[in-house]
Subunit: 304 residues, 4 copies
């Protein structure tokens, strides 16, 4: 496929669209970002690359990092992980707290906030130096020794993260958090503060398009079966209350973040990352969703 | 692939498992079925067939028929259908009624009861003779002029279907039902009463594995884009509150029914139907789920 | 007390207030009523009367009749009634359906719609000719042989009562309705269609201010203990989601209806009925609530 | 009335009942209390006293102290208090968190945990030395300069109070908490740790039976109107999800605590406090509820 020309063509069309939606405002640091930024980068499992726009500028990947925490926890803890968190889509957001109460503190899946917090708690129990060890893992999968947390973003989240503090306290009350509330929140806020470029992000997720093996380094990150299951979870749970819409219009497993980034994979083919800060009302990048919809329509290739 | 040997091998293993779960009891007619029945049939888009067990015995396909009603409504009404029903997974079952109230009578997706009832209402408004016209469509896609409703099952459901009567009245109150409550319920109960064999069922769903075109008759049932979107909806919404579990363990778009049937498709490859009446606690066929999990593990091929 | 002068004084002040709120519009017949109507009537247990405004004009008492159905059912069925319906306030309206599902079809109390429907079902099982027998009871307690249903209102409700049809079907599905759905709804819609004047209404409820005995006829309607318990239920459940507000501002047990009527009693003293059709956003008469608040402030006498 | 003989007679009957229910176990310190303790004390507005059993032994009054915090906040802040907290009963407990989210962090009433936490936040903003100033107020209303917090109980609650930490963080996220989360929780846990005897408790609440004026000291604690409104709130919200049951069976405004205490007032007559640690499944003292039901039946006097 001529990915470069397709990216450039659709990128240009997206560039002409008016700016719709709003930048995430609840985290002060995120509210400062330039709303006109737009970048996209694709990496195939044969290491073919194509990029467009601001594809080499770092942005806050936010919730996309939850997938990477999940990958590490799944690798270390295997099937027993699923006693602490489910694999079902979460349904309407207004029932997230009542769901937790109803299900004894077991979150619906590891990609909603409550579930990612449990994954953090699992990693803290497993790792000797949780923040440092997770960073080492990030650098391994991103093949970039400079990948790091943004303490500026982490502190900004900590100062306003009362909703997440409510979640972790509720789960602690219900018996599904092992470590200290503050330790768990600190790790979680650092996890969400990771910064990458579109190019780095598509490179990082390539192993999920290749049955768990990084095709460049030949490192096996997770097993083939685990890789497929991570993809299944992204497919059903990767886009807040818009997972169905994304499956319906794009048809790829993926994950979005409130920083405006989205990463998606076509198993056996490629990993693609797109970034545009303004979010639609469901909290996903407006132009990012649009781009991927046009991209899979143009390439006529999805998992369905 | 040697589908016949794989089917026989896994079928034999499943046959040795103890009977777990219970037959649907709320519909008197369904409660009478023999719990030991087990059948499976695969049809590839090259018209290769393989079957095992009670694959040519008719059973009540129940909610699986909701996919076929959706296909017809989508074909006739196109994108405006989605103003009446969503495409998102439904989350925990305990909030289905509150969700309807919250969303002004718009069900989360067309495969939960409320959504299928709206699809029935749409079809009643579109078709001259709803029940006869839908039957004609069923016979077309199943390539079987004898496919029909079971009035015995339909009447059994009508006599006990107060939960569905509650749903349709609530949506009528909220403005999302156009026709008479009794007319809608009658059509819905007939829809759910259709009977097929595993062989017929896998044959019927083959067009969804072939971009909307029946590969045997070459009839275009729906467009390629619509076909992919139906698959996306099945992937996210086809298994009540176990869609994530099915994606995670099986990795195929599919739909189950309380009669114990499950149909699933691998786009570009095949359609497979399995039947075993006892249901797990989420309402899906216990052995049917198990069979498909073992089948995609053995064939090492899923959409992910 | 000089009730006549207090009524006239406050009535005049209320008359000068602007018209706030809206007449109930979901029942076509109720939407036709003159929004400027205002009447009030007090009857003491010594048979002292005072009235003001449109106190002798009939209006649709609507949900106020639920108290009278409850009185009859309680008298006939005694404590076993409470196996079918609770005595707790209902909380926020958005959880009425989920509450029913959670509590196996047992409504929170007999004054919300679901609870009154269960009371109707109880009466249908107990009475030989439910509608006629209940009317005879109404005529007894109102001491008026001409008290009757409005078939015009009953039919108007029936044509639009899908929400109530949803409730009765849901409770039937959950096992808390004994009779046919249509029979129960027909009785319920007739119950809600009763018409009275303020004078008749205050006269009718006088037995609840007098320990269950009608002080004019000396007829014992219910026991002293039952009378106090009906008052307790009105206090906690008589004003939809505004029972607290009414207790806080007025401090009397009472019941409102969407026709704009409110009746309240001060045990040992009086029964008072007020009518003004425009409703506040919680569904209670705006000027009726205001009047009673000013009345108990002026008389400096409430149950607290 | 011969209160002493009535108390002794009913107290003796209660003493013969088997121990039903369980002591609150979630706070370690409360779990240690002797389940056989039983005490009751009545104080009339004419300063007549009668007691029975362990009426002069201190126990943890727990949530009963919420009423006293409310009284102080209402006195200082007057009507603007009601912009921060409602006056409606809370309905089923399973929706407390969803209610907060739905209502922008405004709790349903000041006697549920969330509401009492908001009252604490209000007091912290109003008082120079919140804990010391509130203690001074407690000593004033209890007419006992030795009334104090139990730091043992407060610390025990703090170590396990994750549910309350979840509530305060959620309300902080929704904008209804002004002060630091930890400051609010510390004050709240101290509030709940107050210890009194039945005699002290009935003495303390006497002003609510006397239109806001302490009849012994002649001190006006709050206005007559405010006193009636506090009683109205206790009537509707004082017994968790059993307010209706208490109104129905006892018919007095009151408040219970998980320490097994209950206080109730009959306006114009008396204040009564009862203590028995084992709780029924709704969290109210089993024998305390029973005693008060028998007491108002025997005295044939309630607010209804």
């Amino acid at each position: 496929m001529q990915y470069q020309s397709i990216l450039s063509e659709i990128g240009a069309q997206i560039g002409e669209l008016p700016t719709v939606g709003r930048v995430a405002a609840y985290i002060p640091e995120l509210a400062k970002v330039d709303t006109r930024k737009f970048g996209v980068h694709i990496t195939t499992i044969e290491d073919v690359h194509a990029g467009y726009g601001d594809a080499t500028e770092k942005f806050s990947i936010q919730s996309i990092a939850k997938v990477l925490a999940l990958v590490l926890a799944y690798r270390m803890k295997e099937e027993s992980l699923w006693e602490r968190v489910g694999v079902e889509p979460s349904g309407t957001p207004f029932n997230s707290l009542i769901q937790l109460e109803h299900d004894k503190g077991i979150p619906r899946n590891p990609l909603i906030n409550a579930g990612a917090i449990v994954v953090c708690d699992v990693l803290i129990s497993l790792l000797a130096n949780p923040k440092a060890d997770f960073l080492a893992f990030l650098r391994e999968v991103s093949d970039n020794p400079e990948t790091t947390y943004s303490s500026r973003i982490a502190n900004s989240e900590k100062a306003t993260g009362f909703q997440n503090a409510a979640l972790v306290n509720l789960m602690k009350a219900l018996g599904n958090i092992e470590n200290e509330v503050d330790t768990v929140l600190d790790f979680y806020f650092h996890l969400c503060s990771v910064e990458m470029t579109c190019r780095e992000l598509s490179r990082t997720f390539l192993f999920l398009a290749n049955e768990g093996v990084d095709p460049c380094s030949n490192l096996k990150i997770i097993s083939s079966s685990q890789s497929k299951r991570i993809n299944a979870i992204m497919q059903l749970c990767g886009f807040y209350d818009e997972a169905g819409e994304f499956s319906f219009n794009v048809g790829l497993p993926g994950k979005s973040g409130v920083g405006g980034g989205i990463v998606a994979v076509l198993p056996g083919e490629y990993s693609i990352a797109v970034w545009s800060p303004p979010l639609n009302e469901k909290g996903n990048s407006y132009k990012g969703m649009k781009f991927l919809e046009m991209f899979t329509t143009e390439t006529a290739h999805s998992i369905f």
